[in-house]
Symmetry: D2
Subunit: 323 residues, 4 copies
């Protein structure tokens, strides 16, 4: 066990931090060596370890950040300057030009860009990020089509789960037997982050985000137009064949699955496919306005948050980027 790579968790008491812990507890490559939270929590225990404060010395080179956006910006920069490889789920540095925004099955190679970060050159420190939860689910579903046929226009309406808002998050009185037609900042993130992941400034994306009373699993209703014409069979093959096997502990097989039943995917039945890392697609059919419509579902706190970050770390370890 001691030969596993020590890793730390920043913001270990928050919702994302807790998810990191549950996903890392039996990880074949990593072991949790440092748990870090605010001074207020320092000294308590978490995952069997004493919680350290933001200025305590850490054993781990790799730090998973589940920090709240209110503090993540500065703290992550600080840790990178100290030589840590910060694998962040926070939004703060996602759009920084020299910070990779990565879903390994799509643009894992972009993680090599950390070699241009001044901290990396100096002492091996760096920041890498994974996209927003709904963007991740969308990107995993769209990439096979983008890669095979090109994409022009993407119209997306979401039904997003409660766990995406963290804890305590949405008050029960606001959402029991109700839906909310707005999630602050979410539509902008979906529109900007996808362009960065695909490295394509010409994508035209229009997003509408709703919150629904579901615990885990974001549903996305998508309509897209492809640059080259494609048949149903072409699309089906693209979903099945685009993603190669990655052979990393957290990369699922398949990466996307196309469900034939007309009443799938559903959050309760499909969010945990592939340990929460497989994205499910259903209801693939022509659209009268754009070209194709389909419904996508992915686990927002696994594929869309902690699991996505861990996969980024696995990719970097295998690529020899963790000095």
């Amino acid at each position: 066990m001691s030969h596993r790579i020590p890793v730390g968790i920043l913001g270990c008491t928050g919702a994302v931090g807790q998810k990191f812990i549950s996903l890392l507890e039996r990880h074949p490559w990593f072991r949790i060596a440092d748990v870090v939270a605010s001074e207020r929590s320092a000294g308590k225990t978490c995952a069997g370890l004493v919680i350290k404060g933001p200025y305590d010395r850490l054993e781990s080179r790799i730090l998973f950040s589940g920090l709240d956006a209110a503090v993540a910006g500065d703290l992550e920069t600080q840790y990178a300057e100290l030589g840590h490889l910060v694998v962040s789920n926070a939004r703060n540095h996602r759009m920084d030009p020299n910070v990779p925004l990565v879903i390994p099955e799509i643009n894992g190679h972009a993680l090599n860009q950390i070699q241009q970060q001044p901290t990396y050159i100096r002492n091996g420190g760096a920041i890498v990020t994974n996209p927003n939860c709904s963007t991740t689910v969308m990107a995993v579903a769209l990439y096979p089509l983008y890669r095979q046929f090109g994409l022009d226009k993407i119209m997306v309406t979401t039904l997003q789960a409660l766990s995406g808002a963290g804890y305590p998050g949405i008050p029960s009185l606001d959402i029991l037997g109700n839906t909310l037609p707005y999630i602050a900042g979410e539509e902008e993130k979906m529109e900007s982050e996808l362009s960065k992941i695909f490295a394509d400034p010409n994508l035209c994306i229009s997003a509408t985000c709703n919150r629904v009373p579901v615990v885990d699993g974001h549903t996305l209703c998508l309509s897209v137009s492809t640059r080259q014409p494609a048949t149903y069979e072409d699309l089906r093959k693209a979903f099945e064949t685009t993603y190669p096997t990655m052979d990393l502990p957290s990369s699922p097989s398949p990466v996307v699955q196309l469900l034939p039943e007309e009443n799938r995917p559903q959050p309760r039945l499909d969010a945990t496919a592939g340990g929460g890392m497989t994205v499910s697609i259903g209801r693939l059919r022509p659209c009268k306005i754009l070209d194709w419509k389909f419904t996508v579902l992915g686990h927002n706190t696994v594929r869309g948050a902690a699991g996505g970050a861990i996969l980024n770390a696995e990719w970097m370890v295998r690529a020899g980027l963790v000095k």
Copy 2:
């Protein structure tokens, strides 16, 4: 009280029939004189009256039909042939060429077409219909834009309430903490019925329908392109000024309301606006693919079912069509 017009309710024991009863119990023009259900229920009581079977003699000229689609087709035809004015919420006759499909604030004049129905000529019998619940909510929201600027393309994704599926409807194990990505036949209805209401075969509509764990109130996320360019202010004025006051008991004021808060409309807060007859619109903003996006909410069993049918009857009474 006895000078109010006697009306009957077909399918009085079903979910829509029960809604007719609750809305008519204090209606200023109508009084419930006949309650009709299957032979199995005949002889029991409902709304203080003895339930009649499908072949019993009825006192009322106007019959509101909350019949299930499995039987509505033939039974409604039979009642029209017997000289009744069947005001139906069932889907069976909606697309019949000589049966009006009406939302009075939009195309009330189409009710005059019953004068061409052979039964009406012979004995005053006729069938009129109101649209599917989600179509109604969409049509009420879109008509101001359609009327003022024309509409080309309409992309809609719905979050529909449980009561739209009737009773017993959706099993709780299927929907608690879950959403369903499919409602049988619903997308087709939204696409075909809107064209008939607007009497415009050139509309291009693409619908995706989801079920969510909400009791009452359908939410629709819409993106539309207008034939003539319009500013935000133009749209706001169109919503405010297109609908004249109808001065009928069930027509609300306003017919549509534009909510300025970014997290509205919500089913729990807004479905009962205007006694369930007002449609609420929020989040009006530009769309990067079509022209404008907004979120619409309406009460599916009031505006979208029983209340819409009652409004049809009120329009015909005032127009002198009830002989």
Copy 3:
């Protein structure tokens, strides 16, 4: 309208304060003249009035307190000393020996005890309270039996609604598709407050409180032993005849209703009976351990909070206690 009695609302921006506002907006005797909140909210508007801070001068003699328990203790005392009649829903002063804890239909006369409060003697200021929401519902249901037959032992298990926890209250992630087996302080309140209302230190009460995903309406499963034997018919009569008509605007008729259906009462169907002021009882049947079992339901934010406090004020106005 100007001849209605001006009243103020302390804590007007909180959940209870908002309920006071909605219940008072069309009250025949009272008009909202002062809305008071913390300095942070002072200057904003609420119910069409400018919010005052805790030290601003108020026009109203009667003040309804929806203050949070963290501040209610001192602030209510301060207002009483300034000559205001504080009608409080907060728990802080409920068990003070000289502060009445009142449900008017049960012990309205106890409101006369304010005449012994030093502030009342000096300048007419006083504090009166209504019980905790679940205690109120229980007391209203039990009083007919207590009055007619006496009660020894009361075993109660509750299923309490979310609105009882205020806003933001319970996080949705804790309660969607879940129940919570504990509500801090609630069992103690039910056990102590009932004894004060009935002025009977010999009651033996054992309470277990659960939170369930229901918006409004507390359900209580009760088993009781009576001091004198009673038949089902005796109990039925007691529920029907014990409460006289009070002829106050907020006192419902009936005060309690006994439902014969075996699957009632239910929160969604019965919480709003009597405008939320009627308590519903069902499933009355023998208990194999104590004497009788039954299920009780009442609206926790109307009968159990704001509506109960308003009824206290109405009783005092009619009794001439408001100098």
Copy 4:
């Protein structure tokens, strides 16, 4: 794999039948060899096997019955007469004097009574049953106290999950944001079945059963009086030490767990403890009317249904009762 014991599932398409399948798919001792349903389903496939009708020849000696009570009575008798060992979850034969009603950790030895069944003597056929879901959870929690101190009186109020009603079960419109105060036949079962399991006709049990919007996990609020006095520490030890390790594949360790947190057990957090076979107990505290109160939670479709039946079969296999 072929050396595992072939078993059949009666009612394989129902909710309990499906649970049998999911629990048996990776069972170390059993393999599913026969799936049986009504003639209507015969010929379709289930669990990778062709569904047989009720009169088809079966390969398996052991048959798990998830049959609906409407047909279980006669069909189970028929299969026993044909020489099958019917391990039933249906209620029909539970109270038959010569049919064991068993929770192996409590009264496994009662399974030996099948040797008195005429069919067993003739051809090895027999019927054994496990209790109703809520009774099972209650019995597992109470047995340590019953065994160590004796029990006189048991007052229980339940908050029961939707899956206990089967599929389609409770309509969503009846339970979303609501609770139901009645479950047909449930209170009677809890009162009669516990006496048979403990083989004690002197138990005095009073049950009240509610349905709540929870998917899996029955919560029981219990108050009990013990025959011999016991301290908190005595009870804690009884829960910890009464159940020996059974060393059967489906018997969990521990059988019951006492949770120290005051807001536990909760359905979402605790129902799946021990693979759904461990019963969780919390809030242990004195009762002012009886002696002790506590809250119990167990998985109703695992421990309380299919898992309980499988454990019965495992016990019989090890005891050599399966000829």
